[in-house]
Symmetry: C2
Subunit: 325 residues, 2 copies
Amino acid sequence: MPDSKSEYVLGVDLGGTKIYAGVFDFSLECVGTARLSTKPQRGPDEVIERIARCVKDAVDECDLKFDQIKAIGIGAPGAVDTETGRVIFAPNLAWRDVPLKKSLEKLLGITVCVENDANICTVGVHHAELKSKPRDLVGIFIGTGIGAGLILDGQLHSGLNRTAGEIGHMVIDIDGPKCACGNNGCFEALASRSAIFQHIHAAIKNGEKTILTEMLGPSLNDLRSGDLRKAIRRGDKLVDRIVAEAAEYIGIAVANVINLLNPEVVVLGGGLIEALEDEMMGVITKTAMEHVLSGTAKGISIIASKLADEAGITGGAVLARREVK
Amino acid sequence: MPDSKSEYVLGVDLGGTKIYAGVFDFSLECVGTARLSTKPQRGPDEVIERIARCVKDAVDECDLKFDQIKAIGIGAPGAVDTETGRVIFAPNLAWRDVPLKKSLEKLLGITVCVENDANICTVGVHHAELKSKPRDLVGIFIGTGIGAGLILDGQLHSGLNRTAGEIGHMVIDIDGPKCACGNNGCFEALASRSAIFQHIHAAIKNGEKTILTEMLGPSLNDLRSGDLRKAIRRGDKLVDRIVAEAAEYIGIAVANVINLLNPEVVVLGGGLIEALEDEMMGVITKTAMEHVLSGTAKGISIIASKLADEAGITGGAVLARREVK
């Protein structure tokens, strides 16, 4: 229970669609959350005001006073300069060089630290779910797009331009479909939620049958990952095949990561995995094991995160706690 | 000049075909080398005796006494347990669990440290060629096979099973040719020297013309990387096309590494690059730049190593020097 005399930290997951904020005590127990739509079309200033509003809502939700919050950690969907807290580039928000840390600190009057969203989710999983045990961990998050976070020798690895983890643009099928980035056969163009949806639309156009059209109408309005799970459980062969194909590509990407980095753990998360863990993880693991070089995967775990939507806010809280301690 | 009163270290590059040993002073200047064929078919014990003989030849070559050598660093073509100095698995030598460090120390009476060959080459390039400046460096070595070494945050990254860097088995063309590992479309099956040779043989079988058959006879006996360079410089369209295709695959692999790890430097080495640097590096860099995500490659260097054959023995000397200092 939140306590009016204790101190807390706050994690924020800033996405292209929604802002999600969570208040955590210092043992990383979540004591309350709030959500607000992002509305990126209104521009960075208004989005930052909405983040501040969502933060205050979360604090109010758990009956705390704002001065009990000691720091905020926030994950942004793009390349981030963690030292200055500037978002260098975030395509889903149409942001370029936005001083998120500075603006939010001005609005809220407390320390804000900013990280890339896949990185912050990986930190959340590493800390809260895996108790910081693995020295080397790769987190792969699959939703509309695909991103990864790398923890190597216990530390986040960001690279020269702080863009490490762009696994969504790893080419795994050079003759594959066109990706939004302009190249062909990127992992994201083969196995993201968007790619799966495109494959389903194309199959319907080709005259293939799916109960998704019964569930949602012929144009599949408002199709979500959860609908894929429902369709598969109702015996939909088309959706089953397309989801299994995506799982194979994910397995190959996991094998590429194991061959290259040989981490202790590869953790999968994001909306697609959250909705389809039971349907996908078997194929992912089997395909990965078929594609790693003999002897290299011994003892390596390939797991689905249990944190689901909480990974980002938890990671944000971990970073915020580091600022305070 | 070698000096009869100074102390030295020794680096050894153990390959499937030859053993190459070099004596270095403490400023990492090479003062003498020796070579000997490996003869792996005679078994580990005899190979280890040959390493000892090659080491003594190198010392004799530069008119030193063996007691001036303070430690030996050796790169082996496979997975190595660096703590015990055991070679866990080396397919090109047909070795499994060979106590290389222990056996060689018994024969020579001085400290021996053992590393994977791509790792030791990367250490050599990092230290001697790049003056240890890059925090994050990926070395990709292309010859009969393809391997990589990763230096992350200034340290060699070996991973859980000490097999990190198996970039040769990164899938980049899921429908591509069969690899020796059993999978399809591995980087090594597309762009290694062996892959290039196979493509040339297949093209000749298909009735395509190349001056290589004039140079070496119809079955291309004893074809080497240098012959490819000669053929291209004499205007051979077939060889030019096949080498350019391999360079494109290498460029894609480099882009995958930059997208995933965002290192400061990607350095290319190995026999194929050494022989065909002028012919391949332009295509490699152009293709890599086309396949990295926008903004991620700023300031990242993609270079060919100047150390050539010396990378392995130099890296061995670096490791040996660390043992002494």
